[in-house]
Amino acid sequence: MKLLVPIKRVPSADEPVRVRPDGTGIEDDGRAFMINPFDAIALEEALRIRDSHPDGGEVLAVCIGDSEVEAELRTALAMGADRGLRVACEASLDSLSVAKILAGVVRREGPAMVLAGKQAVDSDAGQAGPMLAGLLDWPQATFASVITFLEDGRVQVVRETDHGLETLRLCLPAVITADLRLNEPRYASLPAIMRARRKPIETLPVADLGIQPRSRVVQLRMEQSTMARECVRVADTDELLHRLRSEAKVI
């Protein structure tokens, strides 16, 4: 079975994000980047499906961006993906453009399943997966926490919603987006990264997909949110209730 996993490069979540003074974006000088954690979960699930499937398969990791995103693609290969594909594209993209590019890649590669993260931790839109399913006219299951293969060839997905767990059965091909509790991704150690150097990464100009990305959403300006909070330690719940009532006036 061929599985396609889109990978997004996002700023590392361990250090505070600072907005550039001119508001054009975030400070990326010397800052670390990483695979979007939900994409890593999706990749881990794809690897498990490949390894547990009797006739094996192939896991294809796809990145969109300039040559810098190849670092994340390498990490994906080190985790165990068989092949990497970078869609070369310098432009800044909105969710629909990403979904269109991915749809182009899916038509070219013909995977049985696209496993994506439920959202990227930088923009938090959570749109690319559902839009991709829409463009392909494939069934989709978002926020997956359990994925099981049924004997009739369908896939059963338990998804975590605000109202509880929902169980869906899908026919393949399908788009599934991964939630936090789906699995614990493996650590790509340096030896694995070294071995991954021998795995192929293909670069595909976005024009070769017949797509001219044109973002409908344009980012005008970014501002640093202010963290002006005052913390007070209260003695007990009574004082807390009193302060919430009389000072904060929230209850």
């Binding site: 250090e15 614990e184 650590y187 340096l190």
Partner: protein, 693 residues
Amino acid sequence: MASLPGLSREIFGNVSAEARLLFYGLSCLVVAVLAQAVIRRVRLWLRGRPESGLPPWRTIGRNLWRLALLQRRNRGRTSAHAAHLLLFGGFCLLLLGTTLIGVEHWLAALWTPAGGGPVFHKGLYYAIYEPVLDFAGLAVLAGCAFFAHRRWRQPRTSPNAPGDWLVLGLLASISVTGYLLEGLRILREQTPLPWLSFVGAPLAHGFAAAGLTAAGAATAHQIAWWIHAVLALGLIGLFPYSRLLHAIAGTLRLAGGPVRLGNLRPVSIEEVEATGELGVTRIEQFSRGQLMALDACVACGRCDQACPAHEAGQPLSPREVVLGLRAEMDRTVLARSPGHPGEGTSDEGRDLAGEVVGSPALWACTTCSACAEVCPLAVNPVGFLLDLRRATVTASGLRGTPAQALQKTLRAGNPWGMSSGERMAWAAGLEVPTIEENPDCELVYWVGCAAAYDRRIQKVARSLVRLMRAAGVNFAVLGNREQCTGESARRMGDELLFQELAGRNLESFRKHGIGAGGKRIVAHCPHCVNSLRQDYAQMGARLDVVHHTEFLDDLLTSGRLAVKGPDGGNAAAPLTYHDPCYLARVGGGVDEPRRLLRAARQGAPFTELPRKGRNTACCGAGGGRMWFDEAPERRAGRERLAEIEAAGADTLAVSCPFCLVMMTEGLAARDVTTNVRDVAEILDDQLQSDSTA
């Protein structure tokens, strides 16, 4: 002593020429069995990876004398130690005595002295020989009695319990038949001065009193002689097949000296690149010394008693690790012996990491090295676990928060994953010079990631800076150039990440003349200190590294640093001290922190914890355990927290950032109000002049 010249006894007395021949035949057979079995074990060990050369012969001799013969490592359990000394000493004397008899017999056969008497087994020598060997037999019996009693009272799930009883039974019955033989011989031969054999002589009297005649004694003597001979030969043959194997493998292991705590097996990158393998997935990837150590283990279980993870109920038993690997070593050699269907294949066995040693056990180890420290035979369970961790990490087998810590270290150069641009945030307002700003400094302060990124530990670094300023130390820091030492990564099995980080740090050291003969390094983290000392030495670096407690102690004793005495208030509050494993056990720093505390808190009541110094108990954060997301009540070290709580001190002093974090969290979880503070902070309280705030 007029009768001394005639004093002796006949060798092989009352044993016919045919019987002697049969005995010689049996002896040859047993020696052949022993030799074959020992050669088989040695060949098993030689399947391992060769190690760098032997220690100098003088060292080997000293180790054998101190560790094997004097049993210096056999401390701990007092009564068992004494009993083992008796058993071991008695056995050695009896073995020596029997060997001397053999030498005498052969000398007499080669060169018959005038008169046909013994060569040296006579006179004064004999007068000393007899009581000494009688005493040795009693010692063996006493030892056997103790161990039999203990085994009876506390039956243990030893893998070879029936075999252990057999060994004890054999040792005891060889002594008993030896005495019977002696009594019968005295009765038969009417040996002069029989009281020299102070156990045999009363027995002879007893036999005579029971009506045994000299002729009857001769027959009984022949029967007893054969029983004694067969038992003794049986014991020799049983050596390599029983617990007694430790006497051979253990002696060889002890010849190599004690375990170098905190020292891991070096890894050559060239080899990793050539073979594509890192760590141990097959038993023969362990070193020869490690395989020999597997056979040295006598399964006494002291390691389990000392292990903090075992104590906390985590699924780690260092003894089971060693015994499991030994069983695997036995199994693979059986599977690969010629004619066996599995010959020549190596992957038919169970996975070493995951099956032989379960994954939870593998990752429960804090590398505190308590097991290696207490092992009487200098076996190092940590070394085995580390090699298995390396293979697991290489095969991407690590998940969860520890995997994330490694990922962050890989990404950002520190396990917190914070930007190196933030590395100097701890020093805000202190104007700490970097090495670029102060290239002529005498010493470099290695801040470490904990002090750079953890708000609590930042205070320790600030205190240390104030103390060094007060003592007029000309120091600098590496600033944003500093990277994690890689200590945690290395002990979590990520050797390449460690070497990558060490390479970057060594580049900075070279650039700024930091090293032996150049600038010293002071660090407040014992893990960093050990890594810079031992891990970096394997990377070819020669660094002069001190822990801040050693350094401050030097400053204090040389008078460069002066602290006020007690000034009432907080300074008189009761105090206790927790020894960090990597400072006390690995680094040997036990007295310095105590001297500092005494100087800072003269007169304050100081309580020692039950386990202290090299015998300290781990906080649970070493070996990468810091990065495991685990509730304080499940962590290794919770018994330690109970000890601290029982000490009832107002302040718990520590000298390791990991201990500080773990103890603070652990005590808070138990609602204990004890303040946990670094020794440097306590000393900083008492600075003469209030310098920088």
